[in-house]
């Protein structure tokens, strides 16, 4: 029996801007088991990062978690006070950001920045924290850890900085690691190294990872379970194998088709026509309607509920599989 670590139930994160309410995350539910890697994919602006930040309660004004629950080991994070959430953030749940270049404070040595977390959450003495930090820096595959401890962010390359960010996130051995596009800002060879590192670390610490990316290749390699998001909604979810072998939502099909393949004869890459719609005042219809290749008039009658394809594979499309309610 697998243990449930994080359960997101009907999470809605809205931004109350002057031009209207932006429903960045709209009624999203999913679950992360212990030791599982969940990949979240989608185009830019479909609410992936906002969802990750909602889990850690990092949403700032004018954003707000409008409804829903984030149950972490049975405890609702959305209802905790700032003080309580701070004790969890960085300790039980931690996050790796997209931009390793700007996510480190330029005026501190990287070692001190990692040690700060340990001093805060683990009440270590300075010496202990230093030892542990050096250990961590070694763990994330940086040679000469003692020297790197005393260097400043600007002296390190992008890949090394991302490793430092990972070390920082790992400092307290969290149970859940949220990686928000950890490889997007890095070049391809470094990407592979970082992903490999994440995989190793996951095994070593037996933790769960939420991996946010728009790179389907990364998902295929790393994740056990995939969630495809579109315009703040989950449009398809299922195990990697199911989703890649049997994509059931036209959006997922589009994403998969637009992936370059070596054996592909076509000279042009497939693109999904159109763009992600603005998230203000979306009509009560399938959000993908305008770009869908298989749309029909029925698609305009409300947002389709999730239909079960098989096992744990769901898709939010009226044309996919049997409808759950039937």
């Amino acid at each position: 029996m697998k243990e449930e670590l994080l359960q997101v139930r009907n999470l809605c994160t809205y931004f109350y801007t002057d031009t209207g309410v932006v429903k960045a995350v709209n009624d999203v539910s999913f679950m992360v088991e212990r030791g599982q890697t969940v990949g979240i994919v989608g185009e830019s602006g479909c609410g992936k990062s906002v969802m990750a930040m909602s889990i850690m309660r990092l949403i700032q004004n004018p954003g707000k978690i409008a409804a829903g629950q984030v149950l972490f080991k049975g405890r609702d994070l959305a209802g905790l006070t700032d003080k309580q959430i701070r004790r969890i953030n960085g300790d039980r749940i931690s996050m790796i950001f997209q931009e390793p270049m700007t996510s480190l404070n330029p005026v501190f040595t990287v070692g001190n920045q990692i040690a700060e977390v340990l001093l805060l959450h683990r009440n270590m003495s300075k010496r202990q924290a230093r030892e542990r930090t050096v250990e961590l820096i070694t763990t994330v595959g940086i040679p000469r850890a003692q020297g790197v401890f005393d260097s400043y962010p600007h002296e390190l390359s992008g890949g090394m900085r991302q490793r430092i960010m990972i070390a920082m996130a790992l400092a307290c051995e969290p149970e859940l690691l949220i990686a928000d596009e950890p490889t997007t800002a890095l070049d391809v060879t470094i990407q592979a190294q970082i992903l490999e590192l994440l995989g190793e670390i996951k095994k070593q610490y037996h933790m769960s990872i939420i991996l946010i990316t728009h790179d389907l290749g990364v998902i295929a390699e790393m994740a056990d379970y995939v969630i495809v998001m579109y315009a703040g909604k989950v449009v398809e979810r299922g195990s990697v194998k199911d989703v890649f072998m049997n994509p059931s939502h036209p959006y997922t099909c589009g994403l998969l088709k637009s992936k370059p393949q070596l054996d592909m004869e076509n000279e042009r890459l497939y693109t999904i026509p159109g763009q992600v719609p603005g998230l203000i005042e979306l009509p009560d219809a399938c959000h993908f309607y305008d770009r869908c290749e298989i749309r029909s008039s029925n698609c305009k009658k409300g947002f389709p509920g999730e239909s079960l394809i098989e096992g744990s594979h769901f898709a939010a499309c009226i044309k996919a599989g049997r409808h759950k309610n039937e």
Binding site: L58, R87, T102, L104, N105, L120
Partner: protein, 470 residues
Amino acid sequence: MTRFYKVLALLLLMFSVSCYSMPFLRFKDYAALTGIDLITNLNRRIELENLARTAQIHVFRSTSTYLLLTLIFLLIALGLMICSTLKDCKKSLDAAILTIAAALVSYGLQLTNTETSVADFFGKILLSTKTGNGEIAYKPSEIIAATGIGARLLVVLCLLSMALIAGARIIAAYEKYSDSNIKTPWSMAMRQFVRNRLAIIGAAIIILLIILCFFGPVFSNYSLLKTNILTAKEGPGMEHLLGTDGSGRDILTRLMYGGRISLTVGFVVVVLEILIGAAIGGVAGYYGGRLDNMLMRVVDIFLSLPFLPVVIILGAVMSDLDVSPQRRIYFVMLIIGVLGWPMMARLVRGQILSLREQEYMLAAEALGIKDRHKIMRHLIPNVIPTIIVAATLAVGDAILSESALSFLGLGVAMPFPSWGNMVQAVRDTNDFMLRSWIWIPPGISIFITVLAVNFVGDGLRDAFDPKMKR
């Protein structure tokens, strides 16, 4: 190499401690008092032959805590230096510089040298008279004393040894810097700064001025306030290097004391501006929202106050309240500081606003770091370069404001000198036309100081500007 410096500095320090057995205070026709005397001999009776009979017996009451403090600091520094020469410890070297600096500060500390003479550096000379009922009363005496060779040597030796230790420290730091490949943001800014020749010249001028103004008076044989109408308005010569003013006071001496006031005002005002401005700007920028709005409106109000009229009114209020001339200087600092902080607050707020949106602040939040730590450890250090640059440039402004106020008779009041009120002499047409030595030196001093401060400020701005990196 550094060892040689250190040993030399140690020797100099030993000498400067031994200076306490040399004369610190000279009276005409009387055996000089040594430094040790000044500390230990409370109520020492001295008789001066050539004075009028009534004033013959003086009691020297040493209230010289400054001198005692100086000795204590020097001894600590000596101990630290011995430590660092034996064990080659950098920390004790730093500490030694600091203690020597503290010794020098406590030695030169006396903003206004009141009453009679240089002797006030070391204690008070009081005249004892018998009252009707047989009790002895003390009152300030008028005898002039001058600093002895011991006091002068002490200053020179201390400064020299400090320079040597600083030299050793800089060499060591440079070696470490070129050895290791760790480049802190500070050391990189430092390197950029050192490359800027004008900034270095400016910094040298400022250091020189500070030394001159705070320790120069020790070498002067003239009193700050004692007037002597017989020598009034003498031109520059061997006796008075820069001549005398309308009341026969030595201009060089007054210039040095005036510089103390101007420089002190400059630095204190800026510290005040930073404390108020950075705190308010920081709070407004970090918390934002309604608090930000409120604080910034207060800033707007302060910025719309016309400087001169407000200051003139406050000056008039000060005169009305009979604030004593020595106290006025503190009020001047307060006024300039209180009127000057809004610019600093705006600057800091803007910086914090943009820093707050940086990814590392989000990362800090994601790591569960407390508000206090986020402000103190992550925001403030990133704002410091901006504050340093703005503050340096503000020092120049503050000195100018003080000079303007004193010139208008609203700041430091006669007979206490400040560069501003010394320039006042130009109002006398004769002095303006015929005796330029009275008003040109303070004017040039203001000009050079502010220019040097601006050079340093520009140099710092370039040094901290990431776009200037080469």
